[in-house]
């Protein structure tokens, strides 16, 4: 480990004259600036080289990429020496879409594309207007029609047959779409001057944030049926969705509250001076400014939900992680779970990495303004 002496902001020793080959100069300043630094570089290179070589041997050189359908013998022959990527083409339909009727799987596939398009459009600054709400409502309605069917000549597919990536996206996106208005109300409630409303909001936020999501999901799966009048039963997926919305609402409320606090006092006073009512003041003056302030943390919160939806595995809902875990129950392929987990991790990574890059760019952008 190098000492903190290498902090970029730390004052450096006198600058060396800029002479010689630029490549060598780069190597010297960035990798071999001192003897301990040089030793560190060599050690790191050795470890990295060894890791990369053994990964290439396992993951590429000795790997099996394709096998005849339902035949894992080629994979078993290289077990322990090479990866069995053949499990991905073998199982990807199940991992991505679960038990959705095979011939109808274009529908969840299209839904996933719609989700991605929706996220992409929401990142466009030019579209940050009130109309975006209608875009969201329209897209989510379209996705519901696609997934459920029953109209427009699409056959009906009950939600206990849904699975895989669309379920993960549905849980996260609907969690955000419904948790967001809830979060706004609770955040306003927490800053309200009315003691009863304030204490109810605080109670809600602290209770939800104080306990793990797992216990909320247990509550949704076990206690929800007890809460409802007998004979009235809600589907398991919807129950988990409600738990995630309540969870999201509490976390989003805290993020939005931060934004509300960042709005200067003068804005509140000016709105009051104009004689605006409480709701008009918040809707027209305060919230637009507050939410703009907190877009980067909102994106980060969304990344966290997106990852946290995987917890529904514990109550047996078929999201992307659960389908992956189920796919490797098949005895012929059981030994190749690492490959499946890497495949699914890559999917999660692509989504989260894209979102975190976006959030980073927003922060840089707002910092430059």
């Amino acid at each position: 480990m190098t000492a903190i002496t290498d902090v970029p902001d730390a004052p450096r020793a006198a600058r060396r004259p800029q002479i010689g080959n630029p490549v060598l100069r780069w190597l010297r300043t960035n990798l071999f600036s001192s003897i301990p630094n040089g030793i560190l570089t060599v050690v790191l290179l050795a470890v990295l080289g060894k890791g990369v070589i053994s990964f290439v041997q396992w993951g590429i050189a000795n790997a099996v990429w394709l096998t005849p359908a339902n035949d894992s013998s080629a994979c078993r022959a290289v077990r322990g020496l090479g990866a069995c990527w053949a499990i991905v083409p073998e199982k990807y339909r199940f991992i991505l879409f679960g038990t959705y009727p095979f011939d109808e799987q274009w529908r969840p596939a299209l839904s996933v594309l719609l989700f991605i398009a929706l996220f992409y459009l929401s990142t466009r600054r030019a579209l940050w207007r009130r109309e975006l709400v209608f875009l969201w409502i329209g897209a989510l309605a379209l996705i519901s029609v696609l997934m459920w069917g029953g109209v427009l000549g699409l056959s009906f597919v009950s939600q206990d047959r849904w699975g895989g990536l669309p379920v993960t996206l549905i849980l996260a996106t609907f969690g955000l779409a419904f948790g967001f208005p809830l979060g706004i109300l609770v955040a306003l409630g927490r800053r309200s001057k009315l003691p009863a409303i304030r204490s109810l909001s605080v109670l809600y936020v602290e209770l939800i944030r104080g306990v793990p999501l797992v216990s909320l999901l247990f509550m949704a799966s076990v206690m929800f049926p007890l809460f409802m009048p007998s004979g009235f039963n809600i589907d398991k997926l919807l129950r988990a969705q409600i738990a995630i919305i309540l969870f999201a609402g509490a976390y989003l409320a805290e993020v939005i509250r931060g934004g509300l606090q960042a709005v200067p006092r003068g804005q509140y006073e000016a709105a009051d001076a104009l004689g605006l009512s409480y709701w008009r003041k918040n809707r027209l003056i305060i919230l637009p400014q507050a939410i703009r302030h907190v877009i980067p943390p909102l994106v980060n919160t969304f990344i966290a939900f997106f990852k946290d939806t995987s917890l529904v595995l514990i109550i047996g809902i078929f999201d992307l992680l659960t389908t992956a875990k189920t796919a490797i129950i098949d005895p012929a392929w059981q030994q190749f779970s690492v490959e499946v987990y890497i495949f699914v991790a890559a999917i999660y990574f692509v989504f989260c990495f894209a979102m975190s890059r976006y959030s980073r760019s927003l922060e840089v952008h707002s910092g430059a303004r």
Binding site: D9, L194, L207, V211, C352
Partner: protein, 395 residues
């Protein structure tokens, strides 16, 4: 207020003392509280009806019954004949065991990686960045399952890996040499802990002395005496033995040493690596938040590097680091409940089993919430105290 100041025009008043604003406020509060009470009452009456229909008696009487569930890996002595209450206590101990050790390890690893990200060595800072980005963007549960699968794929006890003499890594978990700790050893450790407290008091006194006349007074002789010499003397006087117990393979299993079960080990690795990625970012931004002028000023005073870091840079960085660190500690503790997915019996897993065995859903979940709220409040309380201690004292 002087009496001749212009008085505001009298406001129109409804209902005597209440102004319009107050009345509106009262209306909203009554409405919201009314709705909340109505919803709770509706759920409550449904629950009572449902419970009586299923013949489940409410209350915590079941805690006194025999649990009958096996707990494989526990810190406290437990047998299935014990009560549910004791099973819960064992579960809480298991949660704390993974949370406390996880917090310590994640802080160390996260700090090292956060500092590495700022290193002038390009390769090291890139590697640290890749580590942070990768681990942050993959769900913890997926990482946990991944580690657990790897753990199960390890060789059997007979062909266990031995990275270092006395350390075995096999599908039975990680087995380490250990020093058995009983009451005699504890008394020596207790002496050392007492020494810490005394040392703290002495250090404060030394600092106040230095504040008075500016003469530095070293604390290390006291530290040596209290932390090393005193426990050593006590140890020799009491004749406490500190023999190391080496694990050895007998038949199909290991005897002696300290065993970390695969479930515990996988959970610990997953929690530590995942949380350390977040802590690394916190540490990095904390160090970067110290203005450059502070480094320059410390250099201009000719301070030694270690002194400068300890006395100038770290105290300022900590102010930025501590509040987000608190929420990471809370997250790690809450995330330890994912243990249920791989069968490590923490408090959530035990509550879940209890719930399935007895049907006491409300009580079991209320217990989980109570435990986590208590732990969360405890951590927040400690960290707020610490934060107040290191906070900027403005004149």
């Amino acid at each position: 207020m002087t009496s001749d100041a212009p008085r505001p025009p009298p406001r129109r008043r409804f209902f005597g003392a209440f102004g319009r604003r107050e009345l509106k406020g009262l209306f909203w509060q009554v409405l919201v509280v009314g709705i909340a009470v109505a919803v709770v009452a509706f759920l409550w009456s449904n629950t009572v009806t449902n419970l009586s229909a299923r013949r489940i008696t409410t209350g915590f009487a079941f805690l006194g019954r025999e649990a009958g569930m096996p707990i494989a890996d526990s810190l406290l002595a437990y047998s299935p004949k014990d009560t549910y209450l004791w099973a819960f206590v064992v579960g809480i101990a298991n949660t704390l065991r993974v949370a406390v050790i996880g917090i310590v390890l994640a802080t160390i690893l996260g700090t090292l990686i956060g500092i590495s990200r700022l290193s002038a060595n390009w390769l090291l800072s890139r590697l640290a960045a890749v580590y942070v980005e990768t681990l942050r963007d993959i769900p913890l549960l997926l990482q946990l399952l991944f580690w657990y699968v790897l753990m199960q794929a390890l060789p059997a006890a007979r062909t266990a890996w031995r990275p270092v003499e006395g350390v075995f890594l096999s599908n039975r978990g990680l087995i380490l040499p250990a020093v058995p700790v009983g009451p005699p050893q504890l008394s020596v450790l207790g002496t050392a802990a007492l020494g810490c407290v005394v040392l703290y008091v002495i250090r404060r006194w030394l600092v106040t002395q230095q504040m008075r006349d500016g003469r530095p007074r070293p604390a290390w002789p006291f530290a040596m005496a209290l932390l090393i010499a005193l426990p050593a003397v006590v140890s020799v006087l009491l004749g406490v033995s500190w023999t190391i117990e080496w694990p050895e393979l007998r038949g199909f299993n290991f005897v002696g040493g300290l065993t970390l079960a695969p479930e515990y080990f996988a959970l610990l690795i997953a929690l530590v690596t995942y949380t350390s990625a977040f802590i690394a970012e916190i540490v990095r931004s904390g160090i970067q938040s110290v203005p450059r002028g502070q480094w320059d000023a410390a250099n201009a005073l000719g301070l030694r590097r270690s002194f400068m870091l300890r006395q100038i840079i770290l105290p300022q960085a900590l102010r930025v680091i501590v509040p987000p660190m608190t929420s990471q500690y809370l997250n790690l503790t809450k995330n330890s409940s994912l243990a249920v997915a791989i069968g490590y019996q923490d408090v959530v897993s035990i509550a879940n089993t209890t719930l399935n065995q007895t049907g006491q859903a409300i009580e079991a979940i209320a217990l989980i919430m109570a435990v986590f709220l208590t732990i969360s409040l405890g951590i927040s309380f400690f960290m707020n105290w610490y934060n107040a201690r290191i906070a900027l004292v403005e004149r």
